[in-house]
Structure formats: C-alpha cells, structure tokens
Symmetry: C2
Subunit: 441 residues, 2 copies
C-alpha cells in the first residue's frame, strides 16, 4: 500500500498568498478608477488621478502598496507593454506623409529644445550626466490626449492648430522612442566612449529599421493585403497564378484552429518584440511600441482596438498606480525645488520649440501649438520607470520626473485656454481697429 | 546648490528584472498557444495542450518555469479569476428552470457518486482525510466543452442527450462550487469538530445566498431593468413618480464619465467578491464564479462576452501553464499508479452516477449522458490549486489530481464515440430484427 503523508510541505514553489494578492489587486484597481473618474470630472486626464491614487496608496502616505508587493510590478510591466503598444498602434506610418512639413518641424524642434535645455539645466542642478540624460529624455515626449480634449471642449478640434498638434504628436512619439532607445542603450553600456555610443546607435537603428520594415511587410503578407492589390492590377492568367499563391499565403493564418487566432498571433508578436528589445539592450516597451507601429495599418482588419481596449482598461491602471506608489516623498524638501525648476524648463522649452516650429503660421497658431504640446503624461513616466529599473537614476530623480510629468499635464489646459483667450482678444482688438480704420475712411 | 548623488540605490523597491519577466511571459504564452493549437487540431481541448506545455516548461523537464518565478502566480491567479467568472457567466440562473428535473437528477447523482467513491477510494489509497476530501471535490466538477465539441462533430449537438448534458453541466458547476466551498472551508478550520463544520457550511451558505440574491437584485437595479417593467405596468401619475426614481437609479452608472464604465464596475465587482470570498475563508475564485453568476442575465446588455474574451485569451493560458509546471514528476513511480486508480474511479463513478440520473430515458440516452459528463477539465485543476495554495494537499496529491483531470478529458471523446457507435449498432440490429419480424408477418 502506498503511503502518502498529509504533512508533505508544498515543495519547490514559493507561492504568493492568494488572499493578499487579490485584495491588493482590488484596492489598487478600485483606487485607480476612482482617481481617474474624479480627474475626468474635473476635465483633467484620468492618468493623473491614477498616479495620485498610487501616491496615496504608496509608502509616502498609506503604505498599502509597498516594496514588498513586487508582484504588482508584473501587472505594471504588462500595463506599460499594452499602453505603448496602443500608442504605437495610433501611429499610422502611412499617414505620416500627409502630416506635412510644418508638423515635422514642430515635432523636431519640440524634441530638440527640451532635450538640450533639460540636459544642461539638470547638469546645473548637480545631477550626474546619466541622470541628466534620462531627465532630458523624459521631457521630450508629448501626450496630446489632454490637449485634444481641451480643444474639443473649446470647439477647436477641427482647427488648423489641432491638426498640426495631432500630426506633430505622431512624429514626436517616434522621436521620443528613438531618444529613449539611445539614452537607455548608452546608459546600459557603462563606459561611455564615443565608439560605444556609435555602436549603440547602430544597434538601435538596426532594431528599429528591421522591425519596422520587415515587420510591416510580414504583416501585409500574412494579412494578404498585397494579394488583393495584385488581383486588381494583373491580367487573367496572372491573376489565377497569383491567386493560388495568395491562397497559400493567407492560409497559414486561416489554418489556425484556435479561437481569436489573429489576436493571439499579435499578442505573441507584442511579447516577442518586447523580449527581443530588452535582449538587445533596449527598453522592453520600445519593442511593444514598434509592435503597435507595424500593426497600425492593419488594426481595422482584425478589430485590434476592440480587442486591446479591455486589456488596457484592466492593466494600464496598475502601471500608473505602481508608478505613483514609487514616488518617494521622504525627502520632499530636496525633491520639490528640483521638480519646480524642471517643470518651468519643461513648459518653456516645449512652448518655445514647438512655437518656433510653427512660426510661419503666425503668432496665434504658433503659441496654441506650443501650448498644446506641453503635457508630458505617460511616456515621460515610462522613461522614468526604465531609468529606475536599470538602476541608472535614483528614487529622488524618479520622483522629480513623475512630478514634472503630472505638473505639465495639469498645467497645460490652463495654458491653452489662457493663450486662446488672449489671442482671441488681441484679434478682436485688431479687427475692431481695422474696422475703425475702415469706417473712418 | 542641491547635491544629488548618482549612486543612490533604488531604495525600498525590490524590482523584478523586466527583461526576464517579459521573456518568460513570452515563452509561457507562446508555448501555451502552440500546445493548445496542436491539441485543437487533434480535436482535443486546448486546455490539455496548455497544461502539457506547462509540464514541459516546468521543473520536471526543461526547468524554464520554476519555483523562482513566483510572479507567474499573479498571472495564474488572474487567469483563474477570469476563467471562473466566465464559467459563472455561462450559468444563467433564469435558464435553470427550463433545464428540467432530468438534468437536475443527472447533475446531483453525478456529483454525489464521484465524491463519495472518490473520498473512500482515496482513504483506501492511504491519503489523509483532508487530502481525500480535496481529491473527491476535484472529481466532482464537469467540463463539458470537449463533450459539446465531440457531439457537434457527430451531428448530435441538437439531440436530447446534448440538451440534458448541457443543462446538467450548469447545475453541476453550482454544485461543484458548493462542494469546494465546504471542503476548502472545512480544511481551513483545522480542528474538525462537527460544530465547526456546521459553522463553515452556514458561513458559506450565507455568502452564496447574500451574493446571489442581493447581487442579482443590485445588478438589475443598476442596469435599470426593473424601471422599464414598471413604466409599462403603472398608470400615468405613478409612472411620472416612478420615472423620477428610475432616472435617479439609472443615473449613477450613466453619470460615470470614464471609458467603459460598466465594464470597469464589473471588474471591480469581480475583484471585490474574490477578495471578499477569501476574506471569509473561501477560495477567491468562488467569489469570481458568483460574480459571473450575478451578471449572467445582463451579459448581453453590456456585451460582457466581447469584453472578457480578450482578457481570457491573454490570461487563462498562464493559469494552465503554471498549473502544468507545478506537476511534479520527481516521484513518478508513486504518482502514476495513484493517478491511474483514481482516473478509473473518476470515469466509472461519473458514468454510473449520471447514467443513473438519466435512466428513465432509456439505456442509450443514459449511457451517452454518462459518458458526456466524464471530462473534468479546468474546475478540477482549480480545486487542486486551492488545496496546494492552502498547504492542505502535498505536491504529489496535486500532481495526481492534475493527471486525473487531463486523463478524463482526453479519454472522454473516445468513450463518447464508442458508446454512440455501439448503441447505434444495437439499435440497427434491433430495428433490423423488428423489420424482419414485420416483413415476416
């Protein structure tokens, strides 16, 4: 007779307490959604509410989510992955051509100005050069969600300014990812000889080029888009020949028997590219972003937005709550002045850079575009997280970056409204003046 | 000038290596989906493929996913939560009335027979009484997904047998949850006096009753279903009065400004009930199951299946991979005979119990129904996980239960086909015999 003892310990598996896990998941999710709801009612972005919920739950205040709960990091990582995938998916490569030169110059100057100024101001504030690089990179990215909302509320979403801002934001995202790629790559190679920097840049460029070019082609190939084009253009005999090949091509995806096969393949690509990006020394979320990018043109074919929306609703709040919980207020006296100084730098440089990029369109447009590009939001926080995870920035620097991201996002709506109102008054005055001139003649 | 040192360590946050995290997530997800795909091509359930992928990745074979990667447990917990929520959501309380007495007796006898036999056979096999209870509970639940598929392939999905099986499976799920509630509650209270058992049963019954009755009403209230009814039945003056209240009622959900507000509320309820269930000493997934149950009648209103499908596609595979990885083959010599013995018990008792429940419908129907209820699948594995997490069953017992769940699921299709073919031949023979009789007269 076999003898099995009841008291065998659960060997080899260090299990989490499931009760605590689910309770914390509940508390974090609930708090994030309440925070987001409150902020949205104040016409501010939900993200800030989720971050503040994290700060409140974190060690600085309630100590409900602390360093002990490292399992929350997995949910945060997944949240960041799907967040950046969605950002990438919104970035249609095929629409970049339509955006025009003006958006490109707004984006470029709006990236260069905050990066250069952010770096040198940080050095002046006694940050190390690696930390200054991360701070500068975090000041680069724009999150125009809040801007779009403010313009919508003011009935300006179809305006020229809005079009330039939304177009520039697309290019801005790509530039921000390239900056992040370079910064994280450079920071990972500890000794910063100029040869190393060149190698890192080459590696990053190769990754981005290979993924984007090869990826886009493979996606088109798999989804059978090209075959349809050829059906229309070639003559009968070719068409039959081509159809056979098109059938073979489409078939490997169609052959999959499991539920939601295209969605599963895309999830595998997202995880695969994220893992590959971190394998070549880049941030994992860069892989997720480029995965989004290569699927951006096929998103309607597979209803990707419908599929990823529930994942984002569930997982992204954990990212922001965990990021908020990591903000460390134990040394508030030293963090606050740095945050204020860098917030001023962040606002002024973006405003000036972007306005300069749109200067040819007149003062009003230039200023509105500049103000619209001010909010930093999620990508800045992602940059801060990467620096913290790499151990290249300290927790104080991390807190500074998160505070700057929150501050720019909260301030932007007021700035946009102020500028629009001031410029409208000016216009009114000048048109009254012109009217007066005309009526006098 | 402020002085911030670059070498400040990341204090107070024991971070996971994001590279390793995403690589393992990729490997686990990819392996699960490949395993599922292969199994589905063999017309077997994807679940078994995902479990086998877990066994291969686990310490028994490749040692890629081991006890060190406790972060996978969070994903597994979330997977189990959404899996059981979906099972609950498929269990429409309002349709239970239609199922009829025959399905109820099939379900009840199909639960009692394996539980009683499973318990006593386990005691005979020298398991402790607590372990025997868990094994018995794991043998109770039916997973009819594979049965539905086999019957569909055989063109029998609209048959009487299929209707009875699918109806009985609904009741079976509820009974299985009640059994699990009692078993996990009893096992948690260490000293098993009969008074304790009564208290546990009372607690569990209260939880289930309160959640189901109060929950269903609150859901109806919130979704404003009742107000519509009243609008139709009451007279003018009442209607106005009632409409005001109905408006107030509906409004709190409609007032929420965030994206996907109903979906967010339901997620909060799922996590809240799971946390609450484990707080009162039950398994967390019991809360998730009953959350599914109370939303089952409103799932079409909010397109819940569309929203939860992507979550299931992403998260449930992690549950099965982790469950597979926990199967311990280091003591295969002692595990295998136990697994074989209990598989035989599992098949015979379910077959006999369910056939007895459907005996009034003739031999053919009774046997097909009995065979159709044999596969155990996911709920049995959930029971095993709870026992392992509670520390009340050892890793050998856990492995035995998982093997029995896999074996019954893999064997069921053959059993169903064999019985259907044998019974068809018998019928043919008897009808030929009758035909012969008639043609003679």
């Amino acid at each position: 007779m076999l003898n099995i003892d009841c008291d065998i310990p659960v060997v080899g598996w260090d299990s989490l307490e499931p009760e605590e896990t689910l309770l914390l998941i509940f508390v974090a999710f609930f708090a994030a959604k309440v925070g987001g709801e409150l902020m949205e009612r104040l016409k501010l972005p939900a993200v800030t509410g989720e971050l503040i919920a994290g700060v409140i739950l974190g060690p600085s205040i309630l100590s409900i989510i602390t360093s002990e709960h490292s399992f929350m990091d997995v949910l945060a990582t997944l949240g960041a992955t799907f967040l950046l995938f969605s950002v990438g998916m919104e970035t249609k490569l095929s629409e970049l051509k339509k955006v025009g030169l003006i958006a490109a110059s707004v984006a470029t100057l709006g990236v260069v100005a905050p990066f250069v100024a952010g770096y040198y101001v940080s050095i002046l504030l006694n940050f190390s050069s690696v930390e200054a690089m991360f701070i500068a990179a975090a000041l680069v990215a724009t999150s125009v969600g809040i801007t779009a909302r403010v313009l919508q509320d003011m009935g300006m979403i179809a305006s020229n300014e809005a079009k330039i801002i939304l177009g520039a934001a697309v290019i801005d995202d790509i530039l921000a990812m390239i900056v992040l790629t370079l910064v994280s790559g450079t920071a990972a190679g500890e000794s910063l000889t100029s040869l190393d920097v060149v190698i890192v840049i080459a590696e990053a460029a190769c990754f981005v080029a290979i993924v984007t070019i090869l990826g886009t082609r493979m996606v088109r190939y798999a989804s059978g888009k090209r075959s349809i084009k050829h059906d229309r253009t070639v003559d009968g005999s070719w068409s039959i020949h081509y159809n056979t090949r098109a059938f073979k091509r489409d078939s490997w995806l169609d052959k999959l028997v499991q539920k939601e096969a295209p969605f599963v393949i895309i999830l595998i690509v997202v995880f695969g590219l994220s893992a590959m990006a971190s394998y070549v020394g880049l941030a994992a979320i860069i892989g997720a972003f480029f995965a989004g990018l290569i699927f951006s043109d096929t998103k309607d074919t597979y209803e990707l937005e419908h599929k990823f929306e529930p994942l984002n609703v569930l997982l992204v709040p954990f990212f922001f709550v965990v990021m908020g919980a990591r903000v460390d207020f134990t040394d508030f006296a030293s963090v606050a002045p740095l945050a204020i100084a860098l917030t001023v730098v962040a606002i002024l440089t973006k405003l000036a850079g972007c306005a300069a990029g749109a200067a040819t369109r007149g003062e009003k447009t230039a200023l509105i575009v500049g103000a619209g590009m001010v909010p930093r939001g999620e990508v800045g926080i992602v940059v801060a997280m990467i620096g913290l995870n790499m151990g290249t920035i300290g927790s104080e620097t991390y807190s500074v970056i998160v505070l700057v991201s929150i501050a720019t996002t909260l301030y932007a709506p007021f700035l946009i409204r102020t500028i629009v109102n001031a410029e409208s008054k000016k216009e009114k005055r000048s048109s009254e003046w012109r009217f007066n001139l005309r009526s006098r003649t």
